[in-house]
Symmetry: none
Subunit: 197 residues, 4 copies
């Protein structure tokens, strides 16, 4: 149980992570300066260094936070009483929805080797793999049950992830579809690759 001070510190860290995620989504990692991240929160960049060792560290925490949230999302869905096909659809819809809301495609869309190395790279890749394997096992179950076609799991999973991540490149709030409708729509099309009638 955290003390009040620790809670405040944690809150501040979360805010900075959110700010970083947001700016990076808008401008890209290298074009985002510590100044951008800080002034977005009305603080000075000096302060950010009180909470994070350096920009790299902040990037790492942000990325990690994003992946962990995605994993929690999928875990929640797995708990529900749904058919495998429904679980898959729900997973895709939620992921899409999450990306649009956070307006960050940073999560899975970029090659971690470009940004991380050593232990950090390993951690990120592990989290990605954890996430991927949860989707994979969903697909595997569907195949085993006979409700899914007998596809190559890796390829199909990457098709799904690619299509979902791409949504932030073209979705516009001013467009035809609401966020939820779009998320639903995309996942229903992707389902066609897998699910038998």
């Amino acid at each position: 149980m955290l003390s009040l001070r620790e809670q405040k510190t944690q809150k501040k860290k979360d805010d900075i992570v959110q700010s970083a995620l947001q700016m990076i989504a808008e401008k890209g990692y290298h074009a985002t300066t510590m100044e951008d991240i800080a002034s977005n929160l009305l603080m000075t960049k000096g302060s950010v260094y009180y909470y994070f060792k350096n920009k790299q560290d902040l990037l790492f925490q942000s990325q990690k936070s994003l992946l962990e949230q995605s994993i929690r999302n999928i875990d929640d869905i797995m708990q529900k009483h749904l058919t495998t096909a429904e679980k898959l659809e729900e997973t895709m819809a939620q992921h899409t929805d999450y990306l649009i809301t956070e307006r960050t495609g940073f999560g899975m869309g970029l090659r971690p080797e470009q940004f991380f190395e050593g232990g950090q790279l390993k951690d990120i890749i592990d989290l990605r793999d954890t996430y991927s394997s949860k989707i994979d096992s969903l697909i595997a179950i569907g195949i085993e049950e006979g409700s899914f076609h007998d596809v190559d799991i890796t390829i199909v999973r990457n098709i799904i992830v690619g299509a979902m991540n791409y949504v932030i490149e073209w979705y516009s709030p001013e467009g035809t579809w609401s966020q939820a409708t779009l998320a639903r729509s995309i996942s229903s099309y992707l389902k066609l690759i897998l699910v038998k009638d």
Copy 2:
């Protein structure tokens, strides 16, 4: 008809564009320095500026070249005597193959607003739109013929483009599949969204 000297100049420009595309695919735009691009071709930074006004201009030319090639590719396919479904599959396979070969997902994968403005942005968006509309019309024909399901064209096109672009994030030459097999495989799965049995 170009003189010998003009041909050499053109060749050099093309080389630099290729080098830029390659480095940007590997490290991202901002992390790629003019020095990187030049030394990759055993030239000096200064020489690159003989051929391109600045980094922005080089980026623009690179992007443009990539999109124009993609458009030529799809135009070629349209000429062939194939069913609509076959044309679509061919388009997808070729695009995937092209991305893997060039090792650049830069083509359609990034938001042009992050990198371009003014006339350049307009040019790039126009080229993207041209490319998109060619896929769209392929889908529209399929629907009209009755060989494709009656889908929302924009959404399905973006699913397809997203899935294809994502391939360079995860494809590894050392992996299970050959480049051609993979391209074929992805497009055959994506086809399921559209094509009736």
Copy 3:
């Protein structure tokens, strides 16, 4: 009323402006590097950019500061109880003295169109005009009083300004005259163009 910190900041800015003025007077604008200006004050280049947006901005502030000081000088003289001829002589002497002390002929001696554009150019030209018109009105008063010859004001003013600005090109501290004597001497000769016996 400025806080202590603000005062320090202002002092630093003033120091940098002085340093810039001095280096530019010695070497010319283009030959003066930000490094020169900074190391002259035992700071690093980077620090200068904390106080000024860029070299152009620093140049502009410097020029402005110089002109504003000149205008203040002439205003002070106008307040004094002197004859018009004495005021003119005092103005010329003070201007000459100021130029020699600051060792910068940059003030009025260069064409602003070479260095400024847009709003900056307008500001500088306005300040120049303000300064010029103050000399002009001094001459006009003398003419009206009948103590000055009926000359073309613009031409005579430019002769005076030109002669005064030129002094920094040839004055040498090691020479025959003291700074004050020279300033006095030049202005007494120039007076001959205007003042009746």
Copy 4:
């Protein structure tokens, strides 16, 4: 007597010198590139290097040419049958006229130490001194004759030179005065410093 080829070479050199003078007058020395000077003559910068060792050399030749012309001008005037006062006025008018026509204040207006060193500096200073001493001796003769006031020659000469050089800073072809009228006007005012009624 020069061969045809040598004449052509000399002509080309003169053209380049003129071009350099013109560009430098417009933009200043450092802001003028070899490219500017060359393209102004529809040649490439490589060619300029065929005629001049380097930019410094070109600057030196240009400056020298300007000063030599000024000296020739004053020598011509000395030959004429005119009073000393008329010779002085003619000298001033011609110098002013020359500066406006060539649109270069570079001649005497800048400190040679900023641009030259060693033998070049010595040559330029010698030429300047030659020019100055010719004006000085004109003034000295006037004083001796009794037609000029007994002034400090150096100071008055510098006043005159300063006022004349400054004209290119403010003269505008679109203005009230024609070039010749202005030259005449300035010199008649300056005469007042020296000439007795």
